[in-house]
C-alpha cells in the first residue's frame, strides 16, 4: 500500500482523490485524518458522547491526551480540542464527550446537530497529562465540568490494561444531572478497590451517597483526601477552576499537573502592545495592537510579502494558528485559526501566532 502510494504520488491530486474516495467511504482520504461518527448518546443534561472511527492516517493517542477536532458550522470549519477515550487497541476507535457551552459554536454543533455518519477531521494528539511513571504512588484527579474527559480516559485505560489503581477522583459540577459517567464510575469504584470517586455539587440542595457540596477549598479536599501532601495531582477544567486548585495545592502536594480548557478571549482594546510569534522565521515581536499587522511588522524591520495593501489581492495573507484579529476596514473580529489572514487590513486583538 505504501509503495503503491509512493508510485502514485506524482499522478494523484489529493483533492480529486479525496472527492472520489469519499463517494465510497466517507472518511477515506489521501492524507488527512478523518473520522466517522459511528454512535451518539446523551451523556448528561448538557453533554453528548460521540463515538468516532478514524481512518488509517490517525496515529492514535495516549490516555489523558487531547486532539483537535474540526467540523463545519455554517459552511466554515471550526477547530476545538477534545480529550478522547480510546475504545480499541489500535487507537482508531475513540469517543469524545462534548459539553455544550452557552453560545459555543462548535460544542453546540457537536451536541445538537452531529449525527451518525457525519465526518470530522482530527489533528495529532497532544498534551502531557498522561500516566507515564512505573512506580506511581497514589494519585488525585480533580475535574470540573468537561475536565472529566481526560480523567475518564485515564481510568478506563487502566481498567482495560488491568493496571492496579490507587486513585481518588474528585469531580465538580453544578448539578447532579450535569455529571457524566456517574454509573460507570460508581460501578468501577465498587469493583476496583483502588478507585474512590467523590462527586461535588455546588448547586444541589439535597445530597446523595458519595456526593458532597462546596467549591474547591482546602478543608473539603483534606476531608476527602487526608494524605493530600503525598499525592500526584492532576487537575483539569475551566481556567478559573484550574487556577484555584493550583493556588490551593501546587506547593503542598508531591506533584501537580494541570490542563485548563481555557476559553479564548477577544481583546477589544486597540491600544497597548501584543506579542506576535512568527513560526517560520522563529522570531517574536512586541507590536502595537492598533496598527495593521503588515505595517507593524514592517516597522520592526520585517518584509512580509504584500500586494494591494487594501485587503483585496490576498498576497499578504498568511496562516494564523492562534489569537484574535480585527479587520480595520469593516471592524469584524476573528478568533479562529485561519490559513489566510490578510495582514494589511487586520490588527492584532490579542497575542498572535502567525505562519510567517
Amino acid at each position: 500500500m505504501t509503495s503503491l502510494r509512493r508510485y502514485l504520488q506524482p499522478l494523484v491530486s489529493p483533492p480529486v482523490f479525496d472527492f472520489w474516495a469519499s463517494r465510497f467511504s466517507p472518511a477515506a482520504s489521501w492524507d488527512r485524518v478523518l473520522a466517522k461518527v459511528v454512535a451518539r448518546r446523551v451523556e448528561s443534561r448538557d453533554a453528548v458522547t460521540l463515538e468516532l472511527r478514524a481512518n488509517r492516517h490517525f496515529k492514535g493517542l495516549r490516555p489523558g491526551q487531547h486532539v483537535n477536532v474540526t467540523a463545519e458550522v455554517g459552511g466554515a470549519r471550526l477547530t476545538r480540542s477534545y480529550s478522547p477515550s480510546l475504545l480499541s487497541a489500535d487507537g482508531r476507535r475513540l469517543s469524545i464527550t462534548v459539553r455544550q457551552v452557552d453560545g459555543g459554536k462548535l460544542s453546540t454543533q457537536l451536541c445538537q446537530n452531529a449525527q451518525v455518519g457525519d465526518v470530522v477531521e482530527l489533528g495529532a494528539a497532544f498534551g502531557d497529562m498522561t500516566w507515564t511513571d512505573t512506580a506511581p504512588g497514589s494519585r488525585l484527579l480533580l475535574a470540573a465540568g468537561s475536565g472529566i474527559t481526560p480523567m475518564i480516559s485515564l481510568i478506563r485505560s487502566a481498567v482495560t490494561t488491568g493496571t492496579a489503581l490507587d486513585v481518588d477522583l474528585v469531580y465538580w459540577a453544578r448539578r447532579r444531572d450535569e455529571l457524566c459517567f456517574v454509573d460507570e464510575l460508581r460501578d468501577l469504584a465498587t469493583r476496583m478497590p483502588g478507585l474512590r470517586c467523590h462527586f461535588v455539587l455546588t448547586r444541589e440542595t439535597e445530597l446523595r451517597d458519595g456526593e458532597h457540596a462546596g467549591r474547591p477549598n482546602q478543608e473539603l479536599l483534606l476531608r476527602l483526601v487526608p494524605d493530600l501532601a503525598h499525592r500526584q495531582v492532576f487537575a483539569c477544567g475551566p481556567d478559573g477552576f484550574v487556577e484555584t486548585v493550583r493556588e490551593l495545592l501546587a506547593t503542598r502536594v508531591a506533584q501537580f499537573h494541570s490542563e485548563s480548557f481555557t476559553p479564548r478571549t477577544v481583546l477589544a482594546a486597540a491600544t497597548g502592545t501584543v506579542r506576535v510569534e512568527l513560526t517560520r522565521s522563529r522570531r517574536t515581536f512586541e507590536i502595537p495592537a492598533g496598527m495593521p499587522l503588515l505595517a507593524a511588522l514592517e516597522s520592526q524591520g520585517l518584509r512580509p510579502a504584500y500586494g494591494c495593501r487594501m485587503g483585496l489581492c490576498n498576497t499578504c495573507a498568511c496562516g494564523k494558528s492562534a489569537g484574535s484579529t480585527q479587520n480595520v476596514v469593516d471592524g469584524s473580529t476573528d478568533a479562529e485559526p485561519t490559513s489566510a489572514l490578510r495582514i494589511c487590513v487586520n490588527r492584532a486583538a490579542s497575542d498572535l501566532i502567525l505562519d510567517l
Binding site: G75, A76, R77, N314, T315
Partner: protein, 365 residues
C-alpha cells in the same frame, strides 16, 4: 480611452465609496452555508463532467462519444479554471477554512501555475486595473488594444497574432510572469530567468504528460482519439476564457489610466476606476456560471473576494448606485461586447491616436 465622464468632487467620491463599502458589508454578512453548498456543488459537477468526458473519450471508437467526451472535458476544464480556480484563488472561499478550497494553495487544470496567477492576476491586474505600465493584462505584452500604447510595425500582424494567442491562451498566461520581453531586452539576468522558469516548466510538463501521454496511453488502441480529444478540450477552454476575459476589459468604452492615478488613491476613487476599467456581459444563469461569474466583471473588480455567485444579486444595486452618481456602467450581450474587442484588435493594429486627452481623473477642476 477618453470619454465624457461626469466629474466627481472628492466628497462625492467618498460618499460613493461609502455606499459601496456598505453594500460590501451587507453582502459579507450573508456569506455562510449557502456559499459552501454552492461551491461544493460546482466542484461536484466539475468532477463528474471530467470523469464522464474522459470515460467517453476512451470509447471514442464511436464518433458521437468522442464529440460528447471532448465537450464535457472542455466544460470541466472551464468550470475548474473559472468558477472554481479563479474564484477560489481570489480567496473567495478562504473563510470556509477548507484546505481544498484554500486560495493560497489551490492548483488548477491549466498550463500556468496557481502561484504565477496569484501574482499577475490577483495582485497586479486587480490592484492596477487598466493602469498603463502596471497592469500586464493590457494586451499581455503582445497586443495593442489602446491608442495610448506605442505603435510598432509588429502590430500589423496583430489580427493573426490575436488568433494564435487565443488558441494558445493557457500557454500565454503560463509564461506571462516570466516577462520574456524584459529578458530579451537584457533587463533580466539569465540566473533569474532560470529560477523563474523551473516551476513554470514543471507545471507545463505535468499538464502535457497528463493530457497527452498518460490518458492517451491508458486508452490503449484509442491513443490518438483521446489525445485529439484532450487537445480540442484544451482549445475549447482557451477560446472561451480568452473571449470572456477580453470582454471584461477591452470593450469600446473602457478606460485606460496613467500611472499617476494610483498615488494616494482613495477607496472611492479606486472603486470608480474599477468600474470604468471593466465591462459586464448579460446572460442567463448558466452563462454566468460558465464564465465563472466574470460576466459580472464590474462587481468582481469591486469585490474580488466575495463569492462570485453573489455578484448577480449585487449587480442590481451597483448599477443603481452608479446611475445616481452618473458613472457609466458598461454591460451588453457577449456578441456586442466581443465585436467591440475584435474592432479594437483590428483598429489598433494600425497606427492610432487617442481621440482627446484621456480623462484620467474624476475630480472636478
Amino acid at each position: 480611452m477618453a470619454c465624457a465622464t461626469k466629474s466627481l468632487s472628492p466628497a462625492t467620491l467618498e460618499a460613493f465609496g461609502a455606499e459601496l463599502d456598505a453594500l460590501r458589508a451587507r453582502t459579507v454578512a450573508k456569506i455562510g452555508s449557502e456559499d459552501a453548498r454552492y461551491i461544493r456543488r460546482v466542484v461536484k459537477v466539475q468532477r463528474y463532467f471530467e470523469v464522464a468526458g474522459r470515460v467517453l473519450l476512451f470509447a471514442s471508437i464511436f464518433p458521437p462519444a468522442w464529440l460528447l467526451g471532448t465537450l464535457l472535458l472542455g466544460l470541466a476544464k472551464i468550470l475548474d479554471n473559472m468558477e472554481i480556480g479563479h474564484n477560489v484563488m481570489h480567496g473567495q472561499y478562504d473563510w470556509m477554512r477548507d484546505p481544498h478550497l484554500n486560495g493560497k494553495t489551490y492548483e488548477w487544470d491549466i498550463a500556468g501555475t496557481g502561484d504565477n496567477w496569484r501574482k499577475t492576476h490577483n495582485f497586479k491586474h486587480h490592484t492596477y486595473t487598466n493602469v498603463r505600465g502596471m497592469d500586464d493584462d493590457i494586451g499581455y505584452g503582445l497586443l495593442r488594444l489602446f491608442p495610448e500604447q506605442r505603435w510598432r510595425p509588429f502590430y500589423l500582424a496583430q489580427p493573426l497574432v490575436a488568433i494564435i494567442f487565443a488558441l494558445a491562451f493557457e500557454w500565454g498566461v503560463a509564461i506571462q510572469d516570466l516577462e520574456l520581453g524584459k529578458y530579451f531586452a537584457g533587463r533580466k539576468s539569465k540566473a533569474q530567468m532560470r529560477a523563474e522558469w523551473q516551476p513554470v516548466a514543471r507545471k507545463m510538463r505535468r499538464q502535457i504528460v497528463k493530457d497527452y501521454v498518460i490518458f492517451p496511453l491508458l486508452a490503449g488502441p484509442f491513443f490518438l482519439p483521446v489525445l485529439a480529444g484532450n487537445f480540442v478540450a484544451n482549445i475549447i477552454r482557451n477560446l472561451w476564457t480568452y473571449t470572456v476575459i477580453f470582454c471584461g476589459h477591452f470593450t469600446a468604452d473602457v478606460h485606460l489610466f496613467p500611472k499617476s492615478v494610483v498615488d494616494n488613491e482613495s477607496r472611492g476613487h479606486w472603486y470608480w476606476r474599477q468600474i470604468l476599467g471593466s465591462s459586464n456581459l448579460r446572460g442567463g444563469k448558466l452563462f454566468h456560471v460558465m464564465t465563472g461569474n466574470l460576466s459580472h466583471q464590474i462587481e468582481h473588480h469591486l469585490f474580488p473576494d466575495i463569492p462570485a455567485w453573489r455578484y448577480e444579486a449585487i449587480a442590481r444595486e451597483v448599477r443603481e448606485i452608479c446611475g445616481r452618481y452618473g458613472i457609466p456602467y458598461n454591460t451588453g450581450r457577449m456578441s456586442v461586447q466581443f465585436s467591440q474587442v475584435v474592432w479594437r484588435i483590428l483598429r489598433h493594429s494600425l497606427p492610432s491616436r487617442p481621440a482627446r486627452l484621456p480623462s484620467v481623473t474624476p475630480l472636478a477642476a
